[in-house]
């Protein structure tokens, strides 16, 4: 067993875990944060994307012990209560989701994309930067649109710099 301390969505917790525990398992099973999903075994689908110390990572390919001491943000930590993050709001407004399974990962990736690429994102950039997120429902059209306007809204709201 190994002791791990993580600050997840603002809450610091310490647990003794099997070193085999993946970060996604830690989040889902130890913290009951089931918004982070697992859609593949090969680090490709991006359903498990979370932010670790401010950067988007795939929590299915990360040992929880290896990020001991880190600050994690999951989809559950993005909204402030009932107030949606502008990117969440954009996904709803532009119908950027259907079944919702890839959506948490998409949104976490999109927020990270804005951090890296700014708030003025053209379609080509958005499509390229979504290489690590697979959606089977939407055909991406509305996801691209949602990210475009979500990024713009983040710029206006000043959330891009957070």
């Amino acid at each position: 067993m190994a002791s791990v301390t993580l600050t997840v969505n603002g809450k610091t917790i310490t647990r003794d875990i099997d070193p085999r525990t993946l970060l996604v398992e830690f989040l889902r099973e130890h913290m009951r944060l089931t918004g982070t999903h697992v859609g593949c075994d090969t680090t490709q689908c991006g359903c498990c994307t979370v932010h670790v110390d401010g950067k988007a990572l795939k929590s299915c390919t990360l040992l929880a012990v290896a990020v001991d001491g880190s600050t994690i943000m999951t989809i559950e930590g993005l909204a402030k209560g009932e107030d949606l993050h502008p990117m969440q709001a954009a996904f709803r407004e532009y119908h950027g989701l259907q079944c919702g399974f890839c959506t948490p990962g998409m949104i976490m990736s999109a927020v990270d994309m804005v951090r890296r690429k700014g708030t003025d994102l053209d379609d080509k950039t958005i499509r390229e930067e979504l290489e690590g997120n697979i959606c089977r429902c939407t055909g991406y059209h509305n996801i691209v649109k949602a990210i475009h306007y979500g990024a713009e809204a983040m710029g206006k709201a000043g959330t891009a710099a957070e």
Partner: protein, 263 residues
């Protein structure tokens, strides 16, 4: 995954010691190792995590670029000094995996794994990199010894890479439509002393240099110079995404595009 003991050494010496045991595996970014372990295709007794070591960073000076082994792909891709010195290398790093993988994966891990479809080995070979390990320095030619095989001895850890700055260079990658790994990746680097061309993704024993292209391009650095040179399909990989003939053809196309785009 099978059970293992996890170590996060704080010094290179400790890491070397821990990694020396028979069944231990070194983990840098873990982007290949962890999926392999998840599928139970590897059963290391010990995982030696290098993330506690101070092995990251990029330095450009004296016509050389030094990149620490634990430097993440995203940091290589985004480094402004590197973009000035060897833009092709920064661009290559930006083509690896996806943004999340680039946040975690490292140059040291990628090169040490020597996946035949990985991108970095072509840059190491074409740029004539020196690979510095915990015990020695090696030329890239001596480092890559075959599919997933390198000259690294048990417990030996890559610490940094030294890349000579070329006059111009470019990397062209043709992606596997499924995995997005290179079906063919061609790195062309022009130095005062001549041109070096390295090919990844295609060779059945891993990354290799294309000497015919090098010779022709060293004389005249233009796409026409290699137009007529036929890459043999012998020794190239064949799979459902690309047979050897197609790979051979793509090597020519990618090489010409790299020459055209080199800067």
């Amino acid at each position: 995954m099978y059970p293992f003991t996890y170590h996060r050494p704080g010094s290179l010496a400790d890491a070397v010691k821990l990694a020396g045991s028979d069944e231990a595996k070194i983990m840098a970014g873990g982007m290949t190792l962890l999926p392999t372990m998840k599928q139970r295709l590897a059963a290391p007794s010990d995982i030696v995590d290098l993330n506690g070591l101070d092995l990251a960073g990029i330095k450009v000076e004296g016509g050389k670029v030094t990149i620490g082994a634990m430097t993440r792909h995203a940091d290589v891709a985004g480094n402004a000094d590197l973009h000035k010195a060897i833009p092709a290398l920064a661009e290559l790093a930006g083509m690896i995996g996806d943004p999340m993988v680039r946040h975690r994966g490292t140059i040291g891990g990628s090169v040490s794994n020597n996946d035949p479809a990985a991108d970095y080995p072509s840059a190491c070979l074409a740029l004539g990199a020196t690979i510095v390990t915990s015990k020695r320095e090696m030329a890239a030619e001596d480092f890559f010894t075959g599919l997933f095989e390198t000259a690294l001895e048990p417990g030996e850890i890559v610490t940094k890479f030294v890349f000579p700055v070329p006059e111009k260079a470019n990397y062209q990658k043709f992606r596997n439509p499924a995995s997005r790994y290179a079906i063919v990746g061609v790195f062309v680097a022009k130095f005062a002393a001549g041109v070096r061309v390295a090919v990844t993704g295609a060779g059945s024993s891993g990354v290799f240099r294309q000497f015919d292209f090098e010779e022709a391009l060293s004389k005249i650095f233009s796409t026409q110079a290699i137009e007529g040179i036929k890459q043999s399909a012998d020794g190239l990989n064949s799979d459902i995404h690309a047979d050897a003939a197609y790979r051979a053809h793509l090597i020519g196309v990618m090489a010409r595009r790299a020459v055209e785009a080199a800067r």
